[in-house]
Symmetry: C2
Subunit: 549 residues, 2 copies
C-alpha cells in the first residue's frame, strides 16, 4: 500500500486490495515511471482542469446518436470521447451540494454533514477542518483557482479562498438565485421578494418571514478579506459564467507562462431560470441552451491548452454533478431520464450516474469507453496522486476516494472500485457491488428485502427481484456491516453552522442584518431567535422509509 | 408525383408533398441517375437483404457506450453504424405480428386486421389479397426467399410461399413454441401440455380444453404443397435459426452466381425460452445470448457479400420488430427500456422505436447517424422503388409506406416522413408529428387532453403537458380527422379467419384434428363448435380507455 499508506479508505477497499494489491503495485510502478518521464519533459507535475456542470445524466453528452434524440449537439464532449475517455459508469452524489462537497473533499458528504442541498439563507457550510483538493495541491506547490457555482454554504470558513484556493469568484448558492430579482417576479415565479413590485397584502402581519438580504457572488483571494461581486440582479447573474470563463483562461495562461503547475475548478452556473426568447438549439430547453455554452467552453479550453503547448501535461476532467432535475423542474427545463431511471436526489442510477469525460492527449488512450465504476470522490485522490501530494491527505478520517490513475492512463477494466454506498441526505439508501444493487430503503421488515437489481439486465431498475439474487443477500449485509463498523472508528461529523456572510469588505445593510435576529426587541421573545441556526433538521431524514421498488 | 403516381398514401403525406414536391422530384431524378449507373455496372437492380429480429429498443445495438451498460457486445451492428446508417428514429408497430404484417405489406396492420399478436392456435392470418414485398419484387424479376419467424398466421393462404416467396422455411408462431415440449414442462413453465409427464388431475373433466396439435416449422416453395419441417421438440426448435442462416447464405450465393437480383428476408427466432446453462455474454440474459448470434450473422452476411463482389449492389437493412418485452418477460430475459419509456405492446416510444441499421457500401454514407423519422412500412415502398417495381404496388388501398430512398442515399435530414399514427391493436393510441406526440387514449373527456409530449425535452414521455403544447391541439385534431376521413374512402379490412394448417403434404393426425371440432358428437351441442373461428374478439379493443399519462 505504498501509494496510499497514509490514507484511510473505506473498509470495502481493503477487501479488494487483499485480492489485487500485488498486481496494482506493479501497475503503479509502471505508472510512476510514465508520470516521471512526463515531469522531466515539462518540468512540473501535470496541470488539472476540473469542469463540473449541473444535472446531466449519462448519455446527454458525448454520444452522437443520443444528441439526435435529445435535440442538442455536444460537439466538444463528442470530441473528448473521440480523443479521450467517455465514462459510462461515473457516479456522483445525488444532488448539488453533496456532490460538490464530495468531489472537493474526497469523502461522501454524510461524513461531514454536507449531505443536503443548501438554499439561501443556509446559515451553514463546509467545515473548516475538511481538507479540500485545493489545500492538498496548494501544499504541493500548485497554483489554485475556483470559479463558478460553489454552493457549499454561506459561512466565511466555507468560502473557497479559505479552503486552499489562491483566488475565487463564486456563488454560495445555486441557480435559484437567478429568480430572486425583479424580473423573477415576472417569470411565473410569484416570489413576493421584491416589495416594490407588489400590492400590499392586507392580511400580512409578519414582515420578517422572508429574507430581505442575500448575496449572489463573492470574490476572494487566499488570506484576504472577500468582496461581494456585482449585485443580485439578473444582469449580474448572467455575467457570472462569462466572467468565470475569462478568468479561467487567464489563470491557465498566466501559470503556463510561469511554468507553475496549476489546478483550476470551473463549475459553471450554466442555467438561469429566466429563459432567453432567442434559442440556439433544436431542443430549445433551459438545459440545451445552457449546456451549449459549457460545451463550447470545453472546446475553447482544449484549444488553449494545445496552443500553450501544455495539453500533454494537463488533465481535463469534465462531468456533471448529479442526474437531471426531473423532480420539480421549472417549465422548459428539458431534463429527462435519458437512459437510467431517476434524477437529481434519487438513489436510482439516474440520480447518480452522469455524463463524464477525461482528456489528456498522449497520456489517456483515445476513443476509450470506460465501463469501470468510478466515483467523483476518486478525483480527489487521483488528483493528489498526480500532483505528488498524497502525503497532504489527512490520515485521521475515512477518505472514500480511491486512486484511479491506472484507470485514466491504462483505460477500460483498469479501475479499482467495484462498490458504491449511495446516500440520499444522511440515509444509506442503496449499496452497489459490481453489477448488483441492493436498495435498503423501503425494505419489507421481516423479509429478506425484495429490492435487488442486476444492472446489466435491468439497468433502469424497474424490476426488483429477490430469488434470482438471493445469493447476494448475505454478501450485501456483510458489506454494509463492515461499512457501519468502520464508521464507529471514524465517526461522521456535522455540518458547520453559523452566521452567514461574514468576512466581507463591502457588506450591504441587508446583508449585515442577516447576522442579527429579525426582531425589534429581543427581550419580548421567550426564546433566542437565532438558536435555530444550530438545530439539525430531523426532516433531512425524511426518506428513510420511502418505498424502494 | 411521378415516382408514386399509382400509390395511394395516407392523407398526411400529401400535406408534405404540397410543400416539398418540387424539391423531392429534383432529388429523385438525381437518385435515379445514381441507381441507373449502379445498374449499368452490375447488370441488375440492387439486391435486398432484410434481417429483422425480436424485441430490441433503440440503443441496445450499434452504440459502444451502451454496450458497456447492457453487458453485451454488438460488434457487427457497431460496424454497420461505422460503415453505414444508424437510425435513431426508426419506428415499428408495437408487437411481433403487427410489425411483421406492416413491414411486409407497407401498411399499418389495422388496415388488414393483423393488429394483434397471434398465438397458437390462431385460426387466422394474413389475407390473400394483401400484396407483400415478395409479390412486388417477384413481379419485377427478383428471386425471393423467406427464412425464420413469420408469425403471420396458420392459414394456408397466409404462408409466405403463397405470398410471393419462391422458397420459405418458416414458423407460423413465435418463440413461445420453444416451451411447448416435454423440456418446457421442466422450465418452470407448468404448461400441462405433455400428458405423459403429468399426474392425472382427478378433477379434470374436460379433455378438449387445451390444444393437442400444432406445428413448429413449415417448408414451402411457390406453387407447391408445403411440408412440416422437423417436429415440435426443443432440438428441432434450436435447429431452425442455424438452418435458416445456412439457407440464407446459400440463397445469396446461388443468385449472385446466376446474376439474378434477389430479395431475402431472414427473421430469426433469436431467443428460446429454455436457457442454456453455458453463457457467452457478460449480461448472461436470454436477450444477450440470443442476439450475440444474430449480430455474428450480420457480420457473416457482410463478409459474404463482399467476397461475392456484390456488396456495392446489395442493400442490407437490419432492425428489431418492436421494443423490448418488458411486460411479462420470462425470468432472465434481460430486456429493458434502454432509453425510451415502454416496451413491446406500448404506444410509448419504447414500444415502437427500435435498433435499426442500413449498410450499402458505396451507396450509403458511412458513419451516418440519421435523426429523421422512418417507419418500417417505408421499407416496402423503398424496396419497390429500388427494385424498379413501384408499378406492382396496388393502387386500390392506402399504402402507409413512403419512399425513403433519398434518406438512405443522401442521409440525415433527407427523410420524407414527419408523422406516425401509432396503433396498439385496433386502437389509434397516439399520433406523432415531428417532435410532438399526442396520446389519445386515456383522454380526459371534456378537457383538451393533457397528454401532449415534446420528444426532445421529454423523450421518455414522463411529463405530459397541456399549456405549453396547446398550440398543437387543433393541429393534431385536424391531422387525425384527415386520417379518419381518408379511411372512409379506403376502409380497413378484417384479418382472414379459417381452418389452420391446410396445404401440407405430411399432416399428422393431431394436426388434421385441428380442422375438426373437438367433440365426439356434434349433434349433442346446441351451437356450431367451429363458429368461434369467424368471431372477431371485442377484447382486442381492451386498451381504448387505458390511461394516457
Amino acid at each position: 500500500m505504498t501509494k496510499t499508506d497514509n490514507v484511510v479508505h473505506d473498509a470495502e477497499y481493503y477487501i479488494l486490495y487483499d485480492q489485487h494489491g500485488e498486481k496494482w503495485e506493479v501497475e503503479d510502478r509502471e505508472l510512476d515511471a510514465r508520470l516521471e518521464a512526463l515531469r522531466k519533459k515539462y518540468g512540473t507535475p501535470p496541470n488539472i482542469v476540473h469542469i463540473m456542470w449541473d444535472d446531466m445524466p449519462f448519455g446527454d453528452a458525448g454520444i452522437p446518436a443520443i444528441n439526435k434524440i435529445r435535440g442538442f449537439e455536444t460537439p466538444n464532449c463528442n470530441r473528448i470521447a473521440e480523443e479521450g475517455i467517455l465514462f459510462t459508469r461515473f457516479y456522483t452524489e445525488p444532488a448539488c451540494t453533496p456532490s460538490r462537497a464530495a468531489v472537493i473533499t474526497g469523502r461522501h458528504p454524510v461524513r461531514h454533514g454536507m449531505h443536503t442541498v443548501a438554499f439561501p439563507i443556509e446559515n451553514g457550510g463546509l467545515r473548516g477542518d475538511e481538507v479540500t483538493t485545493a489545500e492538498v495541491l496548494s501544499s504541493a506547490g500548485y497554483a489554485t483557482a475556483f470559479y463558478g457555482k460553489w454552493h457549499l454554504g454561506d459561512l466565511e470558513e466555507s468560502y473557497p479562498h479559505n479552503h486552499g484556493f489562491d483566488e475565487a469568484l463564486f456563488t454560495p448558492y445555486n441557480q435559484v438565485m437567478s429568480l430572486w430579482n425583479p424580473q423573477g417576479e415576472g417569470a411565473n415565479a410569484v416570489l413576493g421578494l421584491v416589495e416594490e413590485n407588489l400590492k400590499k397584502d392586507p392580511y400580512q402581519i409578519d414582515d420578517n418571514f422572508l429574507p430581505d438580504g442575500w448575496i449572489l457572488t463573492i470574490e476572494g483571494r487566499k488570506g484576504e478579506t472577500a468582496r461581494e461581486w456585482g449585485d443580485t440582479g439578473i444582469n449580474d447573474y448572467k455575467a457570472i459564467d462569462p466572467e468565470c470563463e475569462k478568468r479561467t483562461l487567464e489563470f491557465i495562461r498566466k501559470n503556463a507562462r510561469a511554468r507553475t503547475p496549476f489546478y483550476v475548478a470551473y463549475w459553471p452556473l450554466m442555467i438561469g431560470l429566466i429563459a432567453d426568447p432567442k434559442k440556439e438549439t433544436v431542443a430549445r430547453s433551459l438545459l440545451s441552451e445552457g449546456f451549449r455554452k459549457v460545451d463550447a467552453f470545453l472546446g475553447t479550453v482544449m484549444e488553449e491548452l494545445k496552443n500553450l503547448g501544455i495539453a500533454e501535461n494537463t488533465l481535463l476532467v469534465a462531468h456533471a454533478d448529479n442526474g437531471p432535475m426531473t423532480h420539480n423542474p421549472p417549465p422548459g427545463m428539458g431534463m429527462a431520464e435519458t437512459i437510467f431511471r431517476g434524477g437529481k436526489s434519487d438513489y436510482w442510477e439516474g440520480g447518480i450516474r452522469v455524463a463524464a469525460f477525461a482528456w489528456w492527449p498522449g497520456m489517456i488512450p483515445a476513443g476509450e469507453i470506460v465501463g469501470d465504476m468510478i466515483h467523483e470522490v476518486d478525483l480527489y485522490t487521483t488528483f493528489a496522486r498526480l500532483g505528488g501530494a498524497m502525503e497532504q491527505i489527512p490520515g485521521d478520517r475515512v477518505v472514500d476516494g480511491l486512486d484511479q490513475t491506472a484507470l485514466l492512463i491504462n483505460g477500460d477494466t483498469h479501475g479499482r472500485r467495484d462498490y458504491n454506498f449511495v446516500y440520499t441526505g444522511p440515509v444509506l439508501a442503496a449499496t452497489i457491488k459490481g453489477r448488483w444493487k441492493r436498495v435498503w430503503v423501503g425494505d419489507h421488515p421481516g423479509l429478506a428485502g425484495a429490492a435487488f437489481y442486476d444492472l446489466y439486465l435491468d439497468h433502469r431498475e424497474q424490476f426488483p427481484v429477490l430469488i434470482p439474487l438471493l445469493h447476494t443477500d448475505l454478501a450485501f449485509k456483510r458489506m454494509r456491516v463492515r461499512h457501519e463498523i468502520w464508521k464507529k472508528k471514524y465517526p461522521d461529523r456535522p455540518e458547520k453552522r453559523g452566521v452567514p456572510f461574514t468576512g466581507l469588505e463591502n457588506p450591504r445593510p441587508e446583508t449585515e442584518r442577516l447576522a442579527k435576529p429579525l426582531v425589534r426587541d429581543r427581550s419580548r421573545l421567550p426564546f433566542d431567535p437565532l438558536e435555530f441556526i444550530d438545530f439539525e433538521p430531523p426532516w433531512d431524514d425524511f426518506d428513510r422509509d420511502m418505498p424502494g421498488g
